[in-house]
Symmetry: C2
Subunit: 199 residues, 2 copies
DNA sequence: GAACAAACGGACAGATTGTGTCCGCTAATG
DNA sequence: CATTAGCGGACACAATCTGTCCGTTTGTTC
């Protein structure tokens, strides 16, 4: 593996640093890709990402010649946030509060990234898989702790509890009532948490 | 407005009946469209529908020269089922049981037709809008009856309760746990209903 | 079973959308 | 100021969808 720096300048020993505009654009592209993927799924076109980032297509292709790499970066980015949330949940003294935090965090982020639905396990390669595993492990601990302390109903496996975090992400039902995410997610969460609480 | 029968044979007075193969294909196309829309949304291509129906594209275009008409037929078909479910719910003696029936029915059908998410209110024209209104009215009555009898929590508007029916439709969460609809819908429903029950 | 036309299938042309490359230009760096 | 990494976006190619047309099949009638 090698960095993206061209070999030429290194061979010269010039050690020319990465140009600042290049760094800025790299950041823009990644951020844009996150936004684009969140709303349109993993199939967004490179043009769409470029437009979102305010750069030319060429720039996106230069930075990420392979689609997989870009998506892996996006997924990794999302996972980082999710893992942080899980840690917060585990650090809570109160088991229910911790679980509630985790659940809410996962649910809201799932909703934000509704576009990618369940594609996290298929893409991104081993690095992403590893982090995903880490997250799952943290979540399992938060859930089982709450169950052990009798705060969370025990008749659901931790995987099933996690699956529930997808529920608030749904935009609408067949009936076509307008979504209203701000208010929407909140009451779905309320009902779900009430349904999950033990006793 | 005219039927699709060609004017010629009517003018002759021959009263040639619609050919049986035509009737059969019409049914196939509609059924295929329902399946296709359910899984791929209202944007399915005519080719896709034709393949699903096992007929040529020409047949689909001949039957439904305008996309809107086809989609209206599909939506109308779905609504018919939903309305029947709502009536069942209203006919139940027990208010909670009736509500539970309605909620489950709506949720499962929403899940089956996940592809069309919230597009029912935008498409289909006035006829569909009318039936949708009818359905909403029935649902409201079922919900309010359950609330009046103190079986369903009162802190949610009936629209919000209906919005919740979309929740089990979610395929997965960001974590990418495999969907498993058969088992999946069931426990989401369980938790939701427990969260909705009063007391 | 012969004759007629309704209905069919699918090839095909045109439009739209996405992919990936190339090259003239811009501007960061030293 | 000279050098060149990096940029933008036009462009060629590919894939997909739309809608039509016409030779062939098949239901219906006599």
């Amino acid at each position: 593996m090698n960095t993206k720096r061209p070999a030429a300048s290194q061979a010269q020993g010039t050690a020319m640093p990465v140009r600042v505009d290049a760094q800025r654009n790299a950041a823009r592209v990644l951020a844009a890709a996150r936004r684009a993927v969140a709303s349109a799924g993993l199939d967004v076109s490179y043009h769409e990402i470029a437009r979102e980032a305010g750069v030319g297509v060429g720039t996106v292709y230069r930075r990420y010649p392979e689609r997989d790499k870009l998506m892996a970066a996006v997924l990794s980015d999302i996972l980082t946030e999710l893992i942080a949330t899980a840690h917060q949940g585990l650090d809570c003294d109160d088991a229910w509060e911790g679980f509630s935090l985790l659940f809410t965090g996962l649910a809201l982020r799932t909703a934000q990234n509704a576009g990618l639905s369940g594609s996290l396990d298929q893409h991104g390669g081993p690095a992403v898989a590893q982090r995903r595993h880490e997250l799952l492990d943290l979540a399992r601990r938060v859930i089982e702790r709450a169950q052990d302390q009798g705060r969370l109903r025990r008749d659901l496996a931790w995987q099933d509890v996690l699956r529930l975090t997808g529920a608030p992400a749904v935009q609408g039902c067949v009936l076509g009532l307008e979504p209203d995410p701000a208010h929407g997610h909140h009451f779905v969460l309320t009902v779900l948490l009430d349904g999950l609480r033990a006793g």
